[in-house]
Symmetry: C2
Subunit: 314 residues, 2 copies
Amino acid sequence: MKALVVGGAGFIGSHLCDALLQENHEVVCVDNFSLGTTANISHLTPNERFALYEADASVYEELDEVFVKEKPDYVFHLAANSDIQASASKPEVEYKNTYTTTFQILSCMRNHSVKKIFFASTSAVYGDKKDTVLDENTPNLSPISYYGAAKLGSEALLNAFSYMNNMEVLVFRFPNVIGPRLTHGVIFDFIGKLRADAMHLQILGNGKQTKPYIYVSDLIDAIMQFKNTGMTGITLYNVSAEGATSVTAIADIICDEMKLENVDYEYTGGEGGWKGDVPRFKYCADKIHAAGWKAKYTSDEAVRQTVIDNINRE
Amino acid sequence: MKALVVGGAGFIGSHLCDALLQENHEVVCVDNFSLGTTANISHLTPNERFALYEADASVYEELDEVFVKEKPDYVFHLAANSDIQASASKPEVEYKNTYTTTFQILSCMRNHSVKKIFFASTSAVYGDKKDTVLDENTPNLSPISYYGAAKLGSEALLNAFSYMNNMEVLVFRFPNVIGPRLTHGVIFDFIGKLRADAMHLQILGNGKQTKPYIYVSDLIDAIMQFKNTGMTGITLYNVSAEGATSVTAIADIICDEMKLENVDYEYTGGEGGWKGDVPRFKYCADKIHAAGWKAKYTSDEAVRQTVIDNINRE
Protein backbone atom coordinates (compact mmCIF):
# COMPACT_ATOMS: atom_id res chain seq x y z
CA MET A 1 0.00 0.00 0.00
CA LYS A 2 0.93 3.65 -0.13
CA ALA A 3 1.02 5.05 3.39
CA LEU A 4 0.89 8.74 4.21
CA VAL A 5 2.58 9.36 7.57
CA VAL A 6 1.67 12.80 8.86
CA GLY A 7 4.22 13.84 11.45
CA GLY A 8 6.53 11.29 9.85
CA ALA A 9 9.74 13.10 10.77
CA GLY A 10 8.83 13.15 14.45
CA PHE A 11 9.91 10.80 17.21
CA ILE A 12 7.20 8.12 16.79
CA GLY A 13 6.42 8.94 13.14
CA SER A 14 9.97 8.29 11.94
CA HIS A 15 10.03 4.87 13.61
CA LEU A 16 6.74 4.09 11.90
CA CYS A 17 8.20 5.11 8.51
CA ASP A 18 11.04 2.65 9.17
CA ALA A 19 8.63 -0.18 9.96
CA LEU A 20 6.35 0.48 6.98
CA LEU A 21 9.30 0.50 4.57
CA GLN A 22 10.57 -2.71 6.13
CA GLU A 23 7.19 -4.27 5.25
CA ASN A 24 7.69 -3.05 1.67
CA HIS A 25 5.03 -0.37 1.69
CA GLU A 26 5.49 2.95 -0.07
CA VAL A 27 5.78 5.78 2.44
CA VAL A 28 4.90 9.42 1.93
CA CYS A 29 6.13 11.47 4.87
CA VAL A 30 4.57 14.85 5.66
CA ASP A 31 6.02 17.04 8.38
CA ASN A 32 6.15 20.75 9.13
CA PHE A 33 9.45 20.26 11.03
CA SER A 34 8.18 22.15 14.06
CA LEU A 35 9.15 19.19 16.27
CA GLY A 36 10.20 16.66 13.63
CA THR A 37 13.78 16.74 12.37
CA THR A 38 15.55 15.84 9.14
CA ALA A 39 18.01 13.82 11.24
CA ASN A 40 15.18 11.41 12.14
CA ILE A 41 14.57 10.50 8.49
CA SER A 42 17.83 11.30 6.67
CA HIS A 43 18.61 7.56 6.52
CA LEU A 44 15.37 7.05 4.54
CA THR A 45 15.72 9.72 1.88
CA PRO A 46 17.81 7.50 -0.47
CA ASN A 47 15.02 4.91 -0.45
CA GLU A 48 13.01 4.99 -3.69
CA ARG A 49 9.83 4.02 -1.88
CA PHE A 50 10.13 7.02 0.44
CA ALA A 51 8.86 10.52 -0.42
CA LEU A 52 9.14 13.57 1.79
CA TYR A 53 6.99 16.72 1.84
CA GLU A 54 7.47 19.71 4.06
CA ALA A 55 3.90 20.80 4.63
CA ASP A 56 1.68 22.03 7.45
CA ALA A 57 -1.18 19.57 7.97
CA SER A 58 -3.27 22.23 9.70
CA VAL A 59 -3.55 24.07 6.36
CA TYR A 60 -5.99 22.30 4.05
CA GLU A 61 -4.38 23.44 0.78
CA GLU A 62 -0.90 22.24 1.73
CA LEU A 63 -2.20 18.80 2.65
CA ASP A 64 -4.55 18.60 -0.33
CA GLU A 65 -1.62 19.06 -2.68
CA VAL A 66 0.03 15.93 -1.25
CA PHE A 67 -3.21 13.94 -1.55
CA VAL A 68 -3.59 15.01 -5.18
CA LYS A 69 -0.03 14.04 -6.08
CA GLU A 70 0.38 10.89 -4.05
CA LYS A 71 -3.09 9.30 -3.79
CA PRO A 72 -2.40 7.47 -0.51
CA ASP A 73 -4.36 4.36 0.57
CA TYR A 74 -3.84 4.78 4.28
CA VAL A 75 -3.12 7.77 6.55
CA PHE A 76 -1.16 7.46 9.78
CA HIS A 77 -1.85 10.61 11.76
CA LEU A 78 0.93 11.32 14.25
CA ALA A 79 1.04 15.08 13.82
CA ALA A 80 0.49 16.86 17.11
CA ASN A 81 2.11 19.10 19.60
CA SER A 82 3.91 16.50 21.71
CA ASP A 83 5.40 18.96 24.19
CA ILE A 84 2.43 19.06 26.55
CA GLN A 85 4.17 21.00 29.25
CA ALA A 86 4.95 23.80 26.78
CA SER A 87 1.36 24.12 25.54
CA ALA A 88 0.02 24.61 29.07
CA SER A 89 0.67 28.32 28.54
CA LYS A 90 -0.31 28.31 24.84
CA PRO A 91 -3.58 26.47 24.19
CA GLU A 92 -3.59 27.81 20.62
CA VAL A 93 -0.73 25.41 19.83
CA GLU A 94 -3.03 22.46 20.55
CA TYR A 95 -5.89 24.04 18.62
CA LYS A 96 -3.69 24.30 15.53
CA ASN A 97 -1.25 21.39 15.70
CA THR A 98 -3.31 18.74 17.45
CA TYR A 99 -6.99 19.42 16.64
CA THR A 100 -6.94 21.28 13.34
CA THR A 101 -4.48 18.80 11.81
CA THR A 102 -7.02 16.05 12.52
CA PHE A 103 -9.85 18.05 10.99
CA GLN A 104 -7.90 18.86 7.80
CA ILE A 105 -6.59 15.30 7.42
CA LEU A 106 -10.13 13.92 7.70
CA SER A 107 -11.43 16.57 5.29
CA CYS A 108 -8.78 15.59 2.74
CA MET A 109 -9.60 11.92 3.21
CA ARG A 110 -13.29 12.67 2.74
CA ASN A 111 -12.67 14.69 -0.42
CA HIS A 112 -10.25 12.12 -1.89
CA SER A 113 -12.14 9.00 -0.76
CA VAL A 114 -9.29 7.67 1.39
CA LYS A 115 -10.84 5.18 3.80
CA LYS A 116 -8.21 4.04 6.30
CA ILE A 117 -6.59 5.95 9.14
CA PHE A 118 -4.56 5.28 12.25
CA PHE A 119 -4.78 7.92 14.97
CA ALA A 120 -2.32 8.41 17.81
CA SER A 121 -4.43 9.26 20.85
CA THR A 122 -3.39 9.43 24.46
CA SER A 123 -4.07 8.42 28.04
CA ALA A 124 -4.51 12.19 28.63
CA VAL A 125 -8.07 12.00 27.23
CA TYR A 126 -9.20 10.38 30.49
CA GLY A 127 -8.17 13.25 32.73
CA ASP A 128 -7.27 12.81 36.39
CA LYS A 129 -9.41 9.89 37.57
CA LYS A 130 -7.33 9.15 40.70
CA ASP A 131 -7.55 5.43 41.56
CA THR A 132 -9.98 4.44 38.79
CA VAL A 133 -8.53 1.79 36.50
CA LEU A 134 -8.71 3.39 33.05
CA ASP A 135 -10.05 1.20 30.28
CA GLU A 136 -11.77 1.87 26.96
CA ASN A 137 -15.20 1.95 28.67
CA THR A 138 -14.35 4.44 31.39
CA PRO A 139 -17.11 7.09 31.35
CA ASN A 140 -16.88 10.88 31.76
CA LEU A 141 -13.62 11.53 29.96
CA SER A 142 -12.47 14.88 31.29
CA PRO A 143 -9.03 15.90 30.07
CA ILE A 144 -7.24 18.43 32.25
CA SER A 145 -4.64 19.50 29.66
CA TYR A 146 -5.23 21.38 26.40
CA TYR A 147 -3.37 18.52 24.73
CA GLY A 148 -5.77 15.90 26.11
CA ALA A 149 -8.74 18.07 25.11
CA ALA A 150 -7.50 18.42 21.52
CA LYS A 151 -6.92 14.66 21.29
CA LEU A 152 -10.40 13.87 22.67
CA GLY A 153 -11.89 16.38 20.24
CA SER A 154 -9.98 14.60 17.47
CA GLU A 155 -11.45 11.26 18.51
CA ALA A 156 -14.90 12.83 18.29
CA LEU A 157 -14.11 13.95 14.73
CA LEU A 158 -12.93 10.45 13.85
CA ASN A 159 -16.26 9.08 15.07
CA ALA A 160 -18.31 11.42 12.92
CA PHE A 161 -16.12 11.29 9.80
CA SER A 162 -15.89 7.49 9.90
CA TYR A 163 -19.66 7.15 10.26
CA MET A 164 -20.46 9.70 7.56
CA ASN A 165 -17.85 8.42 5.07
CA ASN A 166 -17.47 4.71 5.90
CA MET A 167 -13.89 5.01 7.09
CA GLU A 168 -11.91 2.32 8.88
CA VAL A 169 -10.23 3.85 11.93
CA LEU A 170 -7.68 2.48 14.39
CA VAL A 171 -7.18 4.57 17.53
CA PHE A 172 -4.51 3.80 20.11
CA ARG A 173 -4.55 5.64 23.41
CA PHE A 174 -1.05 5.40 24.81
CA PRO A 175 0.81 6.92 27.74
CA ASN A 176 4.39 8.24 27.56
CA VAL A 177 6.36 6.78 24.69
CA ILE A 178 10.14 6.67 25.01
CA GLY A 179 13.15 5.33 23.13
CA PRO A 180 15.66 6.43 20.48
CA ARG A 181 15.06 9.90 18.92
CA LEU A 182 13.19 11.15 21.98
CA THR A 183 13.62 14.91 22.25
CA HIS A 184 11.99 15.98 25.50
CA GLY A 185 10.39 14.78 28.69
CA VAL A 186 11.60 13.75 32.10
CA ILE A 187 14.32 11.26 31.04
CA PHE A 188 15.79 13.69 28.56
CA ASP A 189 15.70 16.51 31.13
CA PHE A 190 17.30 14.53 33.95
CA ILE A 191 20.19 13.31 31.79
CA GLY A 192 20.86 16.88 30.69
CA LYS A 193 20.74 18.18 34.26
CA LEU A 194 23.03 15.44 35.59
CA ARG A 195 25.54 16.05 32.84
CA ALA A 196 25.66 19.70 33.93
CA ASP A 197 25.78 18.87 37.66
CA ALA A 198 26.47 15.30 38.77
CA MET A 199 25.91 16.06 42.47
CA HIS A 200 22.40 17.57 42.55
CA LEU A 201 19.14 16.87 40.72
CA GLN A 202 16.06 19.07 40.99
CA ILE A 203 12.88 16.99 40.65
CA LEU A 204 9.48 18.65 39.94
CA GLY A 205 6.80 17.61 42.41
CA ASN A 206 7.35 15.01 45.14
CA GLY A 207 8.86 12.42 42.76
CA LYS A 208 5.95 10.05 43.35
CA GLN A 209 4.28 10.82 40.01
CA THR A 210 4.00 7.30 38.61
CA LYS A 211 3.10 6.42 35.01
CA PRO A 212 3.53 3.62 32.53
CA TYR A 213 6.25 4.21 29.91
CA ILE A 214 6.12 2.28 26.65
CA TYR A 215 9.15 1.64 24.48
CA VAL A 216 8.68 3.01 20.97
CA SER A 217 9.40 -0.30 19.15
CA ASP A 218 6.62 -1.96 21.17
CA LEU A 219 4.16 0.72 20.12
CA ILE A 220 5.23 0.46 16.47
CA ASP A 221 4.81 -3.34 16.57
CA ALA A 222 1.25 -2.86 17.81
CA ILE A 223 0.42 -0.34 15.07
CA MET A 224 1.77 -2.70 12.41
CA GLN A 225 -0.13 -5.67 13.85
CA PHE A 226 -3.53 -3.97 14.11
CA LYS A 227 -3.42 -1.43 11.27
CA ASN A 228 -6.07 -3.20 9.21
CA THR A 229 -9.16 -3.45 11.36
CA GLY A 230 -11.43 -4.78 8.63
CA MET A 231 -14.33 -2.77 10.06
CA THR A 232 -15.76 0.66 9.35
CA GLY A 233 -15.94 2.93 12.37
CA ILE A 234 -13.49 3.23 15.24
CA THR A 235 -11.54 0.33 16.71
CA LEU A 236 -10.05 1.62 19.95
CA TYR A 237 -7.34 0.21 22.21
CA ASN A 238 -5.45 1.35 25.26
CA VAL A 239 -1.83 0.45 24.52
CA SER A 240 0.67 0.24 27.32
CA ALA A 241 3.62 -1.60 28.81
CA GLU A 242 3.32 -3.59 32.03
CA GLY A 243 3.91 -1.70 35.24
CA ALA A 244 4.59 1.95 35.88
CA THR A 245 7.63 3.94 36.90
CA SER A 246 7.85 6.78 39.41
CA VAL A 247 9.84 9.92 38.70
CA THR A 248 12.22 9.08 41.55
CA ALA A 249 12.72 5.57 40.09
CA ILE A 250 13.60 7.20 36.75
CA ALA A 251 16.22 9.33 38.49
CA ASP A 252 17.59 6.19 40.18
CA ILE A 253 17.84 4.29 36.86
CA ILE A 254 19.62 7.23 35.21
CA CYS A 255 22.11 7.59 38.08
CA ASP A 256 22.71 3.84 37.94
CA GLU A 257 23.40 3.85 34.19
CA MET A 258 25.50 7.03 34.41
CA LYS A 259 27.41 5.47 37.35
CA LEU A 260 26.62 8.39 39.62
CA GLU A 261 26.42 7.82 43.36
CA ASN A 262 24.97 9.83 46.22
CA VAL A 263 23.25 12.38 43.99
CA ASP A 264 21.25 14.81 46.09
CA TYR A 265 17.59 14.83 44.93
CA GLU A 266 15.90 18.15 45.59
CA TYR A 267 12.09 17.98 45.28
CA THR A 268 10.09 21.09 44.43
CA GLY A 269 7.12 19.49 46.22
CA GLY A 270 3.46 18.99 45.44
CA GLU A 271 1.63 16.13 43.77
CA GLY A 272 2.08 16.94 40.10
CA GLY A 273 5.08 18.08 38.08
CA TRP A 274 3.18 20.90 36.38
CA LYS A 275 -0.42 22.03 36.00
CA GLY A 276 -2.28 19.85 33.50
CA ASP A 277 -0.11 16.83 34.25
CA VAL A 278 -1.93 13.74 35.59
CA PRO A 279 0.43 12.67 38.42
CA ARG A 280 -0.48 8.99 38.47
CA PHE A 281 -2.95 6.66 36.84
CA LYS A 282 -3.82 3.00 36.57
CA TYR A 283 -3.95 1.93 32.96
CA CYS A 284 -5.70 -1.18 31.66
CA ALA A 285 -4.47 -2.73 28.42
CA ASP A 286 -6.46 -5.97 28.79
CA LYS A 287 -8.35 -5.44 25.53
CA ILE A 288 -5.25 -5.37 23.32
CA HIS A 289 -3.67 -8.20 25.32
CA ALA A 290 -6.74 -10.31 24.63
CA ALA A 291 -6.40 -9.40 20.94
CA GLY A 292 -2.90 -10.89 20.90
CA TRP A 293 -0.36 -8.16 21.59
CA LYS A 294 1.87 -7.54 24.55
CA ALA A 295 4.77 -5.13 25.07
CA LYS A 296 8.21 -6.75 25.16
CA TYR A 297 9.58 -4.18 27.63
CA THR A 298 8.03 -3.43 31.01
CA SER A 299 7.79 0.24 31.96
CA ASP A 300 10.99 0.05 34.05
CA GLU A 301 12.83 -1.80 31.26
CA ALA A 302 11.65 0.78 28.72
CA VAL A 303 13.05 3.56 30.90
CA ARG A 304 16.39 1.78 31.38
CA GLN A 305 16.72 1.01 27.67
CA THR A 306 15.94 4.63 26.78
CA VAL A 307 18.59 5.87 29.20
CA ILE A 308 21.13 3.49 27.63
CA ASP A 309 20.11 4.63 24.10
CA ASN A 310 20.50 8.22 25.12
CA ILE A 311 23.84 7.91 26.90
CA ASN A 312 25.33 5.91 24.02
CA ARG A 313 24.05 8.35 21.39
CA GLU A 314 26.58 11.00 22.31
CA MET B 1 -24.09 40.79 36.66
CA LYS B 2 -23.05 41.62 33.14
CA ALA B 3 -23.82 38.66 30.88
CA LEU B 4 -22.28 38.12 27.47
CA VAL B 5 -24.63 36.03 25.33
CA VAL B 6 -22.78 34.69 22.30
CA GLY B 7 -25.31 33.70 19.67
CA GLY B 8 -27.72 36.03 21.45
CA ALA B 9 -29.76 36.87 18.34
CA GLY B 10 -30.47 33.22 17.63
CA PHE B 11 -33.48 31.13 18.52
CA ILE B 12 -32.46 30.04 22.03
CA GLY B 13 -30.03 32.92 22.63
CA SER B 14 -32.67 35.61 22.15
CA HIS B 15 -35.00 33.94 24.66
CA LEU B 16 -32.09 33.84 27.11
CA CYS B 17 -31.46 37.58 26.60
CA ASP B 18 -35.13 38.17 27.46
CA ALA B 19 -34.87 36.14 30.67
CA LEU B 20 -31.59 37.72 31.81
CA LEU B 21 -32.98 41.23 31.31
CA GLN B 22 -36.11 40.25 33.20
CA GLU B 23 -33.84 39.32 36.14
CA ASN B 24 -32.27 42.79 35.87
CA HIS B 25 -28.90 41.68 34.55
CA GLU B 26 -27.00 43.67 31.96
CA VAL B 27 -26.87 41.81 28.66
CA VAL B 28 -24.24 42.07 25.95
CA CYS B 29 -25.39 40.22 22.84
CA VAL B 30 -22.86 39.03 20.26
CA ASP B 31 -24.01 37.47 17.02
CA ASN B 32 -22.64 37.13 13.50
CA PHE B 33 -26.22 36.99 12.12
CA SER B 34 -25.51 33.86 10.10
CA LEU B 35 -28.53 32.19 11.70
CA GLY B 36 -29.55 34.83 14.24
CA THR B 37 -31.84 37.64 13.14
CA THR B 38 -32.40 41.25 14.14
CA ALA B 39 -36.12 40.44 14.36
CA ASN B 40 -35.39 38.14 17.34
CA ILE B 41 -33.90 40.98 19.39
CA SER B 42 -35.39 44.18 17.93
CA HIS B 43 -37.75 44.44 20.94
CA LEU B 44 -34.65 44.59 23.21
CA THR B 45 -32.62 47.30 21.48
CA PRO B 46 -34.40 50.20 23.25
CA ASN B 47 -33.43 48.67 26.63
CA GLU B 48 -30.54 50.56 28.25
CA ARG B 49 -29.21 47.39 29.83
CA PHE B 50 -28.92 45.70 26.42
CA ALA B 51 -25.92 46.11 24.09
CA LEU B 52 -25.55 44.50 20.68
CA TYR B 53 -22.38 43.65 18.75
CA GLU B 54 -22.21 42.13 15.31
CA ALA B 55 -19.07 40.01 15.60
CA ASP B 56 -17.85 36.57 14.60
CA ALA B 57 -16.97 34.60 17.72
CA SER B 58 -14.73 32.27 15.72
CA VAL B 59 -12.34 35.20 15.16
CA TYR B 60 -10.35 35.95 18.32
CA GLU B 61 -9.79 39.65 17.60
CA GLU B 62 -13.49 40.38 17.03
CA LEU B 63 -14.44 38.72 20.29
CA ASP B 64 -11.54 40.20 22.22
CA GLU B 65 -12.72 43.71 21.33
CA VAL B 66 -16.06 43.00 23.03
CA PHE B 67 -14.34 41.59 26.12
CA VAL B 68 -12.11 44.68 26.36
CA LYS B 69 -15.04 47.10 26.07
CA GLU B 70 -17.66 45.27 28.10
CA LYS B 71 -15.77 43.29 30.76
CA PRO B 72 -18.46 40.62 31.21
CA ASP B 73 -18.81 38.52 34.38
CA TYR B 74 -20.46 35.54 32.76
CA VAL B 75 -20.49 34.11 29.23
CA PHE B 76 -23.45 32.18 27.83
CA HIS B 77 -22.16 30.34 24.78
CA LEU B 78 -24.99 29.51 22.38
CA ALA B 79 -23.13 30.20 19.15
CA ALA B 80 -23.15 27.16 16.88
CA ASN B 81 -24.32 25.90 13.59
CA SER B 82 -27.80 24.74 14.59
CA ASP B 83 -28.77 23.43 11.15
CA ILE B 84 -27.29 19.96 11.57
CA GLN B 85 -28.81 18.56 8.43
CA ALA B 86 -27.13 21.29 6.37
CA SER B 87 -23.66 20.70 7.83
CA ALA B 88 -23.75 17.00 6.92
CA SER B 89 -22.29 18.04 3.57
CA LYS B 90 -20.09 20.81 5.00
CA PRO B 91 -18.12 19.70 8.07
CA GLU B 92 -16.07 22.91 7.90
CA VAL B 93 -19.16 24.81 9.11
CA GLU B 94 -19.03 22.87 12.39
CA TYR B 95 -15.27 23.32 12.66
CA LYS B 96 -15.69 27.08 12.43
CA ASN B 97 -19.05 27.90 13.99
CA THR B 98 -19.38 25.19 16.63
CA TYR B 99 -15.83 24.20 17.69
CA THR B 100 -13.70 27.27 16.97
CA THR B 101 -16.22 29.61 18.61
CA THR B 102 -15.80 27.59 21.82
CA PHE B 103 -12.02 27.72 21.59
CA GLN B 104 -11.94 31.49 21.02
CA ILE B 105 -14.51 32.21 23.73
CA LEU B 106 -12.49 30.18 26.24
CA SER B 107 -9.26 31.86 25.10
CA CYS B 108 -10.83 35.31 25.64
CA MET B 109 -12.12 34.24 29.06
CA ARG B 110 -8.65 32.95 29.98
CA ASN B 111 -6.95 36.16 28.85
CA HIS B 112 -9.50 38.43 30.56
CA SER B 113 -9.94 36.31 33.71
CA VAL B 114 -13.65 35.69 33.18
CA LYS B 115 -14.56 32.67 35.29
CA LYS B 116 -18.16 31.66 34.55
CA ILE B 117 -19.63 30.07 31.47
CA PHE B 118 -22.77 28.24 30.37
CA PHE B 119 -22.38 25.93 27.38
CA ALA B 120 -25.20 24.64 25.20
CA SER B 121 -24.33 21.04 24.42
CA THR B 122 -26.47 18.36 22.87
CA SER B 123 -27.80 14.83 23.01
CA ALA B 124 -25.90 14.37 19.72
CA VAL B 125 -22.63 13.91 21.65
CA TYR B 126 -23.78 10.39 22.61
CA GLY B 127 -24.10 9.09 19.06
CA ASP B 128 -26.45 6.29 18.08
CA LYS B 129 -26.60 4.04 21.14
CA LYS B 130 -29.80 2.23 20.12
CA ASP B 131 -31.72 1.13 23.23
CA THR B 132 -29.21 2.32 25.82
CA VAL B 133 -30.71 4.84 28.21
CA LEU B 134 -28.48 7.89 27.84
CA ASP B 135 -27.37 9.54 31.05
CA GLU B 136 -24.41 11.68 32.08
CA ASN B 137 -22.33 8.56 32.86
CA THR B 138 -22.88 6.74 29.58
CA PRO B 139 -19.42 5.65 28.35
CA ASN B 140 -17.96 5.66 24.84
CA LEU B 141 -19.52 8.82 23.49
CA SER B 142 -19.36 8.44 19.72
CA PRO B 143 -21.13 11.23 17.82
CA ILE B 144 -22.17 10.33 14.28
CA SER B 145 -22.72 13.91 13.06
CA TYR B 146 -20.09 16.62 12.55
CA TYR B 147 -22.27 18.76 14.81
CA GLY B 148 -22.15 16.24 17.65
CA ALA B 149 -18.39 15.86 17.17
CA ALA B 150 -17.80 19.61 17.39
CA LYS B 151 -19.94 19.83 20.55
CA LEU B 152 -18.13 16.91 22.20
CA GLY B 153 -14.81 18.51 21.26
CA SER B 154 -16.08 21.73 22.84
CA GLU B 155 -16.92 19.89 26.07
CA ALA B 156 -13.35 18.55 26.10
CA LEU B 157 -12.07 22.14 25.79
CA LEU B 158 -14.32 23.23 28.67
CA ASN B 159 -12.81 20.48 30.82
CA ALA B 160 -9.23 21.55 30.16
CA PHE B 161 -9.82 25.32 30.31
CA SER B 162 -11.85 25.08 33.52
CA TYR B 163 -9.18 22.95 35.18
CA MET B 164 -6.29 25.11 34.02
CA ASN B 165 -7.98 28.45 34.83
CA ASN B 166 -10.36 27.66 37.70
CA MET B 167 -13.49 28.33 35.70
CA GLU B 168 -17.05 27.51 36.78
CA VAL B 169 -18.83 25.74 33.93
CA LEU B 170 -22.45 24.70 33.44
CA VAL B 171 -23.08 22.32 30.54
CA PHE B 172 -26.56 21.27 29.45
CA ARG B 173 -26.95 18.47 26.93
CA PHE B 174 -30.35 18.89 25.38
CA PRO B 175 -32.26 17.31 22.51
CA ASN B 176 -34.39 19.26 20.00
CA VAL B 177 -35.52 22.61 21.32
CA ILE B 178 -38.67 24.12 19.85
CA GLY B 179 -40.97 27.10 20.36
CA PRO B 180 -41.38 30.69 19.17
CA ARG B 181 -38.65 32.03 16.80
CA LEU B 182 -37.79 28.52 15.58
CA THR B 183 -36.42 28.76 12.04
CA HIS B 184 -35.90 25.21 10.84
CA GLY B 185 -36.46 21.57 11.62
CA VAL B 186 -39.23 19.07 11.08
CA ILE B 187 -42.14 21.11 12.50
CA PHE B 188 -41.18 24.16 10.51
CA ASP B 189 -40.77 22.04 7.33
CA PHE B 190 -44.08 20.19 7.67
CA ILE B 191 -46.09 23.37 8.20
CA GLY B 192 -44.50 24.90 5.11
CA LYS B 193 -45.17 21.80 3.03
CA LEU B 194 -48.79 21.52 4.18
CA ARG B 195 -49.42 25.16 3.42
CA ALA B 196 -48.20 24.50 -0.12
CA ASP B 197 -50.14 21.23 -0.49
CA ALA B 198 -52.82 20.34 2.06
CA MET B 199 -53.44 16.87 0.59
CA HIS B 200 -49.99 15.25 0.61
CA LEU B 201 -47.05 15.27 3.01
CA GLN B 202 -43.68 13.74 2.20
CA ILE B 203 -42.01 12.39 5.35
CA LEU B 204 -38.29 11.54 5.43
CA GLY B 205 -37.61 8.00 6.69
CA ASN B 206 -40.32 5.68 8.01
CA GLY B 207 -41.84 8.29 10.35
CA LYS B 208 -40.88 6.26 13.40
CA GLN B 209 -37.91 8.46 14.30
CA THR B 210 -38.80 9.31 17.90
CA LYS B 211 -37.12 11.97 20.01
CA PRO B 212 -37.83 14.18 22.99
CA TYR B 213 -38.68 17.79 22.16
CA ILE B 214 -38.23 20.47 24.81
CA TYR B 215 -40.07 23.77 24.80
CA VAL B 216 -37.68 26.72 24.77
CA SER B 217 -39.11 28.42 27.88
CA ASP B 218 -38.50 25.23 29.86
CA LEU B 219 -34.87 25.14 28.78
CA ILE B 220 -34.41 28.84 29.61
CA ASP B 221 -35.92 28.31 33.08
CA ALA B 222 -33.37 25.56 33.69
CA ILE B 223 -30.45 27.74 32.57
CA MET B 224 -31.60 30.55 34.85
CA GLN B 225 -32.08 28.20 37.79
CA PHE B 226 -28.69 26.47 37.57
CA LYS B 227 -26.46 29.19 36.10
CA ASN B 228 -24.41 29.63 39.28
CA THR B 229 -22.93 26.24 40.08
CA GLY B 230 -20.70 27.48 42.89
CA MET B 231 -18.02 24.96 41.86
CA THR B 232 -14.98 25.15 39.62
CA GLY B 233 -14.93 22.58 36.85
CA ILE B 234 -17.85 21.24 34.83
CA THR B 235 -21.34 20.68 36.19
CA LEU B 236 -23.15 18.63 33.56
CA TYR B 237 -26.84 17.83 33.12
CA ASN B 238 -28.98 16.13 30.53
CA VAL B 239 -31.97 18.44 30.11
CA SER B 240 -35.15 17.16 28.53
CA ALA B 241 -38.92 17.11 28.58
CA GLU B 242 -40.90 14.02 29.55
CA GLY B 243 -41.71 11.59 26.78
CA ALA B 244 -40.77 11.61 23.13
CA THR B 245 -42.61 12.30 19.89
CA SER B 246 -42.42 10.40 16.61
CA VAL B 247 -42.23 12.17 13.29
CA THR B 248 -45.61 10.74 12.31
CA ALA B 249 -47.09 12.01 15.59
CA ILE B 250 -45.72 15.48 14.76
CA ALA B 251 -47.45 15.33 11.38
CA ASP B 252 -50.69 14.28 13.13
CA ILE B 253 -50.49 17.17 15.61
CA ILE B 254 -49.86 19.68 12.80
CA CYS B 255 -52.78 18.36 10.72
CA ASP B 256 -54.98 18.52 13.81
CA GLU B 257 -54.05 22.14 14.57
CA MET B 258 -54.29 23.15 10.90
CA LYS B 259 -57.66 21.39 10.70
CA LEU B 260 -56.55 19.21 7.81
CA GLU B 261 -58.10 15.78 7.36
CA ASN B 262 -57.11 12.70 5.38
CA VAL B 263 -53.69 14.04 4.43
CA ASP B 264 -51.78 11.38 2.49
CA TYR B 265 -48.41 10.70 4.22
CA GLU B 266 -45.78 9.56 1.79
CA TYR B 267 -42.73 8.02 3.52
CA THR B 268 -39.34 8.03 1.81
CA GLY B 269 -38.45 4.94 3.87
CA GLY B 270 -35.48 3.87 5.96
CA GLU B 271 -34.75 4.26 9.65
CA GLY B 272 -33.31 7.78 9.78
CA GLY B 273 -34.36 11.02 8.19
CA TRP B 274 -30.83 11.82 6.89
CA LYS B 275 -27.33 10.52 7.43
CA GLY B 276 -25.90 11.67 10.75
CA ASP B 277 -29.34 11.84 12.36
CA VAL B 278 -29.91 9.60 15.39
CA PRO B 279 -33.37 8.18 14.63
CA ARG B 280 -34.40 7.43 18.21
CA PHE B 281 -32.93 7.54 21.67
CA LYS B 282 -33.88 7.09 25.29
CA TYR B 283 -32.89 10.12 27.29
CA CYS B 284 -32.48 10.22 31.06
CA ALA B 285 -32.93 13.55 32.85
CA ASP B 286 -33.03 12.06 36.36
CA LYS B 287 -30.03 14.06 37.55
CA ILE B 288 -31.57 17.47 36.89
CA HIS B 289 -34.94 16.27 38.18
CA ALA B 290 -33.24 15.28 41.43
CA ALA B 291 -31.66 18.75 41.55
CA GLY B 292 -35.10 20.34 41.50
CA TRP B 293 -36.08 21.13 37.91
CA LYS B 294 -38.71 19.62 35.68
CA ALA B 295 -40.06 20.71 32.28
CA LYS B 296 -43.58 22.15 32.34
CA TYR B 297 -44.39 20.82 28.85
CA THR B 298 -44.13 17.16 27.86
CA SER B 299 -42.57 16.46 24.48
CA ASP B 300 -46.02 16.13 22.80
CA GLU B 301 -47.25 19.32 24.47
CA ALA B 302 -44.10 21.17 23.38
CA VAL B 303 -44.76 20.11 19.79
CA ARG B 304 -48.41 21.17 19.92
CA GLN B 305 -47.58 24.52 21.50
CA THR B 306 -44.91 25.17 18.86
CA VAL B 307 -47.36 24.39 16.08
CA ILE B 308 -49.87 26.81 17.62
CA ASP B 309 -47.15 29.52 17.99
CA ASN B 310 -46.15 29.03 14.41
CA ILE B 311 -49.63 29.04 12.88
CA ASN B 312 -50.63 32.15 14.85
CA ARG B 313 -47.45 34.01 13.95
CA GLU B 314 -48.55 34.57 10.38
